[in-house]
């Protein structure tokens, strides 16, 4: 198959030391912290009460609105609290979470009836995927059912299964592809059904030959599924760049892959779909790579959602030194977290503890020398140096003209910048600034309307009062006149 090249990109040191390590199940911890929002969209709404006993796989919080995802119990136990807990987010701010005290019995809910999923309709498949709480597991955590539903509105000609895993260190998808290729292929066939599409490509970077051959063996019987080796180049795993690599088509700015008939799902999502439809299991665990120079024994773990990162690290023998930075996700786009007491959620693919040397932290940013390396490296074709200069001067609207909203925040520009300017942060800042302005504008528009309405109301009330006063006066006058008349009458008579 002919592949296309996306512009720019880099090849950072891979550090994939865990490629050979099999997936190890992680024991159920004592306590689980399940944030109500582990996905893009509206937070889920709790359906259990504090003190209630819940079973493994039981619905804890239901989806709220069209773009949302439910949360299920990762194990059986007691709900001890529904409270704020540190979110897996760079801000380190808390988010409402359901906290479960595990009872160690691992008792499953009994409402699971195995069915033949291939007898389901396309709509039923995506409904079940939605009910299982499945979200994009490559990191973005967009509800998978919403994407599977797009088949009803758009004609989808190609489903791309993203096995790129272009982030350094991470091997969770790699291991999943090596160890469970059958279920993945099964899941892909179900996804094809849901999308009413008959061509799927599994794109796997060429640095994962074992995963490629495992998948090839598993999909031999299914001509509609093809494994494609793609060049090892960051950000290959980015949806837009992957579509470009495989099809030569580009997602129109501001649009979706579905607009050009292409849908991208992560391999782990395909696996989760299979688990949900074949075995009726909601998304309650995921595979996480624990790695980095400060971790004693790196590993690939299958982790119940809600387990604290701290426990994963402990399970891996702890830290060999105080890490310079701890992350959820990969080093290019991952989230730095203030401490390890942060739960693993649906989108967490890695827990990394990095040492200073492997981060190659630069002392401090230097002035831009306009070398244009960021321009060469940007996979989108932006001018990072110009955008950052404008963001720095607070001219976020100007940065917008340079394509700020087309930025995919892949961090390639910051990675190559010889002056180590935090370009990506400038863009995040500028995007946040625009969002803030939009919110402020909305509020001020609303309050202006309210103020106007009040003005109108006050005027109306004043007018009414005046009218009422006039009426009363008229009545009084009439009464007086009547009395007068009566008196006169009396006097006359």
């Amino acid at each position: 198959m002919r592949l296309f090249r996306f512009k720019g990109g880099v090849h950072p040191d891979e550090h994939k030391v865990t490629t050979e390590l099999p997936i190890t199940p992680m024991p159920i911890p004592k306590r689980l912290y399940l944030p109500l929002q582990q996905h893009i969209g509206a937070a889920a709404e709790p359906v259990v009460k504090v003190g209630e006993r819940v079973l493994k796989g039981q619905l804890l919080a239901k989806a709220k609105g069209p773009v949302s995802a439910p949360v299920h119990a990762s194990t059986s136990g007691i709900v001890t609290a529904i409270d704020e807990f540190t979110a897996p987010h760079p801000s380190g701010l808390p988010v409402k979470s359901i906290i479960i005290e595990a009872d160690g019995k691992e008792e499953w809910v009994d409402n699971i009836i195995p069915i033949d999923p291939f007898k389901l309709s396309a709509e039923e498949i995506s409904i079940r995927v939605g009910e299982a709480g499945i979200v994009g597991m490559g990191g973005a955590a967009f509800p998978a059912a919403v994407k599977l539903n797009l088949g009803s509105k758009h004609r989808i000609h190609t489903l791309i299964i993203n096995g790129g895993e272009c982030e350094p260190y991470l091997t969770c998808d790699d291991r999943l592809m090596q160890e469970r290729p059958g279920p993945i292929i099964d899941g892909i066939r179900l996804m094809l059904m849901a999308l009413q599409c008959n061509q799927a490509y599994i794109a796997v970077e060429n640095n994962k030959p074992a995963a490629q051959s495992a998948l090839r063996d598993a999909c031999e019987a299914f001509p509609e599924i093809e494994v494609i080796g793609v060049p090892t180049r960051y950000p290959m795993g980015s949806e837009k760049q992957m579509i470009q690599t495989l099809t030569g088509l580009e997602v129109p700015a501001g649009g979706l892959g579905a607009d050009i008939g292409v849908i991208v799902h992560n391999v782990a999502t395909a696996y989760a779909v299979q688990q949900a439809l074949r075995h009726g299991r909601p998304l309650i665990s995921r595979i996480v790579t624990v790695s980095g120079g400060s971790i004693k024994t790196p590993a690939n773990l299958e982790v119940p959602l809600g387990t604290l990162a701290e426990e994963l690290v402990e399970f891996c023998g702890g830290l060999s030194e105080t890490p310079k930075r701890q992350l959820l996700g990969g080093p290019m786009m991952g989230t730095s977290i203030p401490h390890l007491d942060v739960p693993i959620v649906k989108g967490s693919n890695g827990v990394l503890a990095l040492s200073e040397t492997e981060m190659r932290l630069q002392p401090s940013p230097q002035p831009c020398i306009r070398c244009g390396r960021c321009v060469q490296a940007c996979p989108v074709g932006l001018l990072p140096l110009e955008m950052a200069a404008r963001a720095r001067n607070g001219k976020v609207e100007d940065a917008l003209d340079f394509g700020l909203m087309d930025c995919i925040a892949c961090g390639t520009c910051s990675y190559v910048c010889p002056a180590s300017i935090p370009l990506t942060q400038y863009f995040n800042f500028a995007k946040g600034e625009l969002a803030r302005k939009r919110v402020e504008q909305q509020k001020s528009d609303r309050t202006r309307e309210l103020a106007k309405a009040r003005q109108v109301r006050l005027e109306r009330e004043a007018a009414e009062k005046k009218e009422a006063a006039a009426r009363r006066k008229a009545e009084r006058d009439a009464k007086k006149r009547a009395e007068q008349a009566a008196k006169e009458k009396e006097a006359a008579s």
Binding site: P367, R370, G394, Q425, E440
Partner: protein, 180 residues
């Protein structure tokens, strides 16, 4: 001699052009006042020191009042005004501290409806002898309710940042790229 004639003619011609242009493209002063007023919150809260938004708009347009005068409008309003008026302002110097909102201390509220009557955006709900509540989505933080409350049960507070409202801060190091 030729030069003098030529220059005189040229001068007269250009002067005529300028005069025509001044007549032709004359800018009325008033529209800008209305435009500015349309941008202001319209709550007449008086925090700017002028009696109401129309007066503030007038001051901005003709008396050179600073674009940063309106606390409820915040930095984004200041930027809009600066653009409209073609002036620059120091955004970083502007106290962009988190906007304050009003909140009723329920144990002190006597349900006197004074704040309710005062609120320029009808952000306070309540009825006589009932505890009042401030609807934060509609509150501009003007503080008028705080002034009229007889029991001092209204306090201005800084709402804590929630996750969806959190924004990446600006990088702290001052690095520059010359803008092309």
């Amino acid at each position: 001699m030729h030069a003098i004639v030529a220059l005189t003619v040229l001068g007269l011609f250009l002067g005529f052009l300028l005069g025509m242009a001044a007549k032709r493209f004359k800018v009325e002063n008033d529209p800008i006042v209305e435009e500015i007023e349309a941008q202001l919150p319209g709550t007449n809260c008086g925090q700017c020191g002028f009696p109401g938004c129309p007066a503030a708009a007038q001051a901005l347009a003709s008396e050179g009042a600073p674009v940063t005068l309106c606390p409820p409008g915040g930095k984004s309003l200041a930027e809009t005004l600066a653009k409209m008026l073609g002036v620059s302002f120091d955004a970083s110097a502007m106290d962009d501290g988190p906007a304050k909102l009003a909140r009723v201390k329920e144990e002190l509220c006597i349900g006197c409806v004074k704040c309710f009557r005062e609120c320029p955006t009808d952000a306070i709900v309540g009825a006589p002898k009932q505890i009042h509540v401030v609807m934060q989505q509609a509150c501009t933080g003007c503080g008028k309710c705080e002034e009229v409350c007889p029991t001092m049960c209204i306090e201005m507070f800084v709402p804590p940042t929630t996750l969806p409202e959190w924004r990446w801060p600006k990088p702290q190091h001052e690095v520059v790229a010359r803008a092309a």
